[in-house]
Symmetry: D4
Subunit: 247 residues, 8 copies
């Protein structure tokens, strides 16, 4: 609830336009839609510019459908970590929805998205990192930022990265996605002046430890000004990139 709204509410209470009892209630109940098991946050899009996001993993298709039923008239919806079975179930109900199989995202767009003119680059070290990149791209676009993917430019073949550098530099914000040792964010961080958000991925085996090596490498990076999100968290990286691109 913004300060302006608070001022307005207090003024309405003073004039009697809003009773005290109702004032207490408004401060409590307004921003939530209570489904019993879920407190759906209808005002989040007002508060910080995001559509509602449903984390699909561990939920049943029916549960997700129930949430969608309660909400889709108000705002755009992004469901992440959607397995194919859940996608089939939901697409049967919402034929207008779009499923990105690579990124395992399902989107329901009910009001048109206005895009800014600056783009977000999503750079990956290997082809196996693409699933995270696709999740990030879909998220960016739903949040109002166009994005493009530069795949497979890991540091062991440095010429591949250098060949794409000019393209990468055209973006306003750069998301770097890498597994194994995660070195790509250090190298790119040293070559550009834009904000760089690093996403470690669980790609690799043995001492990759399901993304921990990449995570530690990105955190310990020798390049200044690189920030990091959780392992495989393409969604979170996109949110951060859009917070920046919306400035």
């Amino acid at each position: 609830m913004t300060d302006d709204a608070l001022n307005k509410l207090l003024e309405d209470i003073k004039t009697g336009a809003v009773s005290i009892e109702r004032g207490v209630n408004l401060l409590r109940n307004l921003p939530c839609l209570d489904l019993g098991h879920t407190r759906f946050d209808l005002h989040r899009s007002i508060r910080n510019g995001f559509p509602e996001v449903i984390y699909g993993e561990g939920k049943k298709p029916g549960q997700v459908a129930e949430i969608l039923a309660a909400t889709t008239e108000h705002i755009n919806i992004l469901v992440t970590r959607v397995p194919e079975e859940m996608a089939d179930y939901l697409l049967a109900i919402y034929p207008d929805a779009t499923y990105n199989a690579a990124g395992r995202t399902l989107t329901l767009i009910r009001h048109p998205i206005t895009y800014g003119d600056r783009e977000i680059a999503i750079v990956t070290a290997g082809t196996s990192d693409l699933r995270v990149a696709e999740e990030a791209k879909t998220t960016c676009e739903l949040l109002g930022s166009r994005a493009f993917i530069v795949p497979d430019v890991g540091v062991a073949g440095l010429h591949r990265l250098l060949a794409c550098l000019e393209t990468i530099r055209k973006a306003r914000v750069i998301i770097v996605i890498a597994g194994m040792e995660g070195a790509l964010s250090s190298v790119i961080g040293g070559l550009v002046s834009q904000p760089v958000i690093a996403v470690p991925t669980s790609v690799g085996y043995g001492a990759s430890f399901a993304g921990i090596s990449a995570l530690l490498g990105m955190l310990a990076s020798c390049a200044s000004g690189v920030t990091v999100v959780n392992i495989d968290n393409g969604f979170g990286a996109a949110c951060a990139a859009c917070r920046i691109n919306n400035l």
Copy 2:
């Protein structure tokens, strides 16, 4: 070296204004000042907008002085992790330098800094996090962004945070610094729409594990769009915040 410069160089080679031999040398040697043990990177400020930064920890005062002697006429300098003895040694040689004892930074400003008009908020959970906040603040200012600190608003006393929220929201970028469980970044990330950069600190004991608990908590945050830097890395957070604020 930018693409424009590469085009220019190749053209000069074509016209003979630059010989082939010299072209090869230029591609190699230009951007480095070689001190024997250190390859000083004079062009970094051109390439990504940063002054030269010297990491003081583990270096001897004399070594730092030697690096400063080779560089200060060209660019502004920031030395981080400067213990008091090193500060005394360097201030005797460079009386114009400024030492921030709380943040353990020493700055040498040789050309005036132009500040933009948007500020960076640096929010701390406890008073013990202030040393990291001071390092961040000095860094921000040297990189051309004004910054202000909001101290001691940890989540165990939520009203302290809520009372400062309007102030925090006035900033363009927010750095959140917290030790122990690092919950402050999740709470602030849910209350604002700006970019939020979280810095875990090594404050706490036992299961705080010198910052690891805070680091993990910040990475696993339930608030979308929070990014994280290394433990106690106020400098890195400031670099990231300024990359954003410079957009």
Copy 3:
């Protein structure tokens, strides 16, 4: 064996009402029902007020049925971590039993439970934490304390929590269940004066490390007087809450 019982036994031995040989045996064999593979503890409910609890995970339906057959006439029974197949098997034998599918608990109530008048609040950060909350709720009720669940009030949407605060404060003991960074227990711990028991859950991915991040965050909490139980241990939190509520 209580001290009174020890006094009584020694007196009986003195008077000869109990022979020495039998005294030695009584000290040994009384409180156990030996099924061969299991030493069933019939006196636990006398000793610390708990019904017998069977941990279902890793056991076969037939094994659990065998234990139930030996015990149900004496005391109430709680089986935890009961998969659906085991529930079906046991319900066929014990149609009076109750299965809570969400919390994976099965209860057999053979003597009526007397409830005290103070309740236990079970607060969860997300909807995915509900399975742990349901295990806790069933356990509380079997142990004689009424409990209610306040779901989905994680700290990234702080207004949801604040809207429920008065409800939470009505409880005598508060169980806080959260995955990811586990920040909810710090925030609630700072807002109430009741005992707060925190349960980390394995909800989340990547650097959530199956509950370790939440566990560390809860242990390192900046809020004084919050205690912690094992990851996903809704049963244990309920036992602790009832030890307190029984005071």
Copy 4:
């Protein structure tokens, strides 16, 4: 701020007794005493019954003295982790203060403490755990609960524990403090029906890992209803015990 206070404030705003501008300010500034680097929380004792606590580690004697100067007329004060030098410094200024060298606590009592009639037992596995026990005991007493220490009853000499069991059972809440494998809390948890709060200590070497083994052992305990606080956190255990004893 309680709900009653919120109602009262809104009523005052309605009647004009409080202006809107002042209403906004009151909601913001009331509960904090701002020392510049520290937001001192004067209302915490009202909100959750605790005196103000200052964590001494990492602070300078002068900083602590400054905080004490701003606060001691209002409430009782507890300073924890006070090294001897800091104690000497503060005792020179506050001769009425009391220093517990074993527990490294300093207390300043400005209004009399009213004790309830039920006590807290603090049980330790070894003599090396006593420093944590002393911190817990001082904290309990400042928070209004009498406490007594049962030292050196570790499980490798089980008869020592059994000999003290009746004494332990007289308490209303039990704090168990143990290093190494932390088994004492499992054994006591199985022998009593009271709430048991376990504190792992950093006593031990090698695979004790500075308290991690004890911490894990206590969390994984086979005794139901034992809760755990951070390593060496006698203060936190006492806060939790008093939250319970105050019921």
Copy 5:
């Protein structure tokens, strides 16, 4: 190869009874039966008193059968970690073999085992630890020591343990098997004077970390003279116990 054999061989070489070439070969090839992928160690039973042991996990039934075919005329055989399918396959070929389903062991006894008169006690904390206990028991018996299991005497119900103490003390060597916090070995270690070998098991969840908590607890034990083997390693504990019992 013993020193006596070495002396004999050198003497034979001196006398010419063994040629130099053959001497070199004997030193090399004698003790191995080479199956191509496996160097079967026929002399191990001579060297350290053990039958040949085949670790079944990760092998295919056919591979194990092939090894058995090459070896069973010489010595007794123990196959560990035998899943049911492998047992069925092998029992069809070797109807004389014995399968212990609980301990997942298969034994082929071709020459009679001579037992000593002192026994090994195998004590478990819970019923879930029985699979490890069964593996240990079968191994002990194949190695020539009779063993008996005392199940389900975990420390949370201390009276169950005390009731069995006299039985346990009759053994010459004691194996203690426990998951979760592993406290049982500390308690028993303090109550008996015999050698105690502790086996952590992967029983438990969350912060049990698949046996790590029990392992650390057993290593950090406050009881002197308890030794530890790998998690779930009932076989190894039995080998160690028999090395001792064979003295």
Copy 6:
């Protein structure tokens, strides 16, 4: 791109044989074959002597087939981590390919391999390490080095190792593959003067921690001059061995 090529290119630009625009393009695009999702590195075999390698794990058979279709006319191909289903799929398309089921490798040889005359020894501690050894052997051979495997000579049966020592010493480079405690590389490293590359394997259970114990043991080895690659990384060890054998 080598320096010679750079010199040549700059000269061509000077003479006008290559236009500036084309010069920029050549510097960018030459060494990559862009399949959309994969930047195939055609020049890697020129640059560092390796065939193209495709990591099969996590890819679909069709994706691998697509990559093979684009590349097989140019160079030899190695696909690693190929499950049986993928092998069947690819062998149907490429009947000339060879599948090594034990090592899970598939090779497509389009131009003959020239072998040097010095060999690489691949020594394993147990039979379970053979799958890693086979991956290493296939890789060595594709990279132009003959290799042989010495299986099952772990340190618990030292005589097996000593019997093979002369064979091992005939190799120019030695790869040592071991799980559990990884001690074999220390013992061999102390017995030979050749380069020794150690590969930890995920063989073992409990405190083997899927190869971590072997990895740490090999890194901490008391034998000087042993180097280590990632867990189960037979491919990487072979690449390193061939870099050496190619000298």
Copy 7:
């Protein structure tokens, strides 16, 4: 308290030779000497054959002296982890005590020790492991077993170990002490049939992780029947070895 004693006590109660009240007290107070901070366990030597042991680390010389004053007339005493200053302090009071500077042990022998005729071998991998070996040797001797040290036979120089093998085999029990990768216990375990107790030491650097690598290696050992104690725990290994040697 032994069972015989329990029978006797119950009989005395029956005859009235012991009153009930006194019976309760005897069961409680007999075996402890209460120094306030320490419950000294006078009967431990009866119960499991050990002298009293005081862990010196973290105690002050005066505290240790106080404990010694209360106990030395009854039994032999071993103080471990005794720094030089503590030794000087105690030797001034107890000139008959013996200080082993290498092993940091101080012993006070008040009644003669009877030695058995079988010895314990203490084998170390490097000279740096000797401090742990000395602690083990002193402990063995105080517990009634003669012991000898075989130093510096680490596996990287295998011939050094083989040259000492016959000596080692003469012992009844073998303690193996090694840092770094801890491979020595696997090799010895495979060469002898005696009980082998492995002690990891904190010798080494980097990935030795203060003994963790050695600990894991020893636990994961491929040699059957090796048991392990805590890092640097020479005392514990000796206790275990003497439990065995006393059989």
Copy 8:
């Protein structure tokens, strides 16, 4: 002992030139010089081409001097991890020795070293890695390989590395030394065809975890054929590099 020597010895025994008793002794005692606490390995230089190396850390100057006294007439000596005080002590006794303060090595050269003509490149990411580089360089030279250091070419300033690439490629073996995220070895591994040995260093803070992040990054490297040694182990990397360069 080589096989040739073994053949010769057996022949001498056959002819009687060597008695059987002496044969047994020779097989045992020849290669060791026993100083009591140290078994000095005089034949190691014969067996694998290395001089004797003494690890100085944790030893006292007098102990090192004693070892030097017993050995210097035979072979060249390298003492590593030599603090300044130890160096002063040893230089007073051996004025011919050379102390490298940066690398903390002391060398005593008693017979001239023959160098091969191919060199080893030692590349570091930062100036703080130089101490490890110096240890490596001294070790290489003592082992007969010339080496040169390329300092401060970390991946955050990629042009610095590219400018030195031709120099690096002239070496026969490349040692890459880097802290923080350790990315340098991946980048160099992808640019050269020589053997690359990576050394993680403990440079960095927070999530660098004293070299663990660099270690994991190097192990998980996406560049094929890079091998790794222990953290800060410049000595071990040099040994490995010389094993290769000696081929």
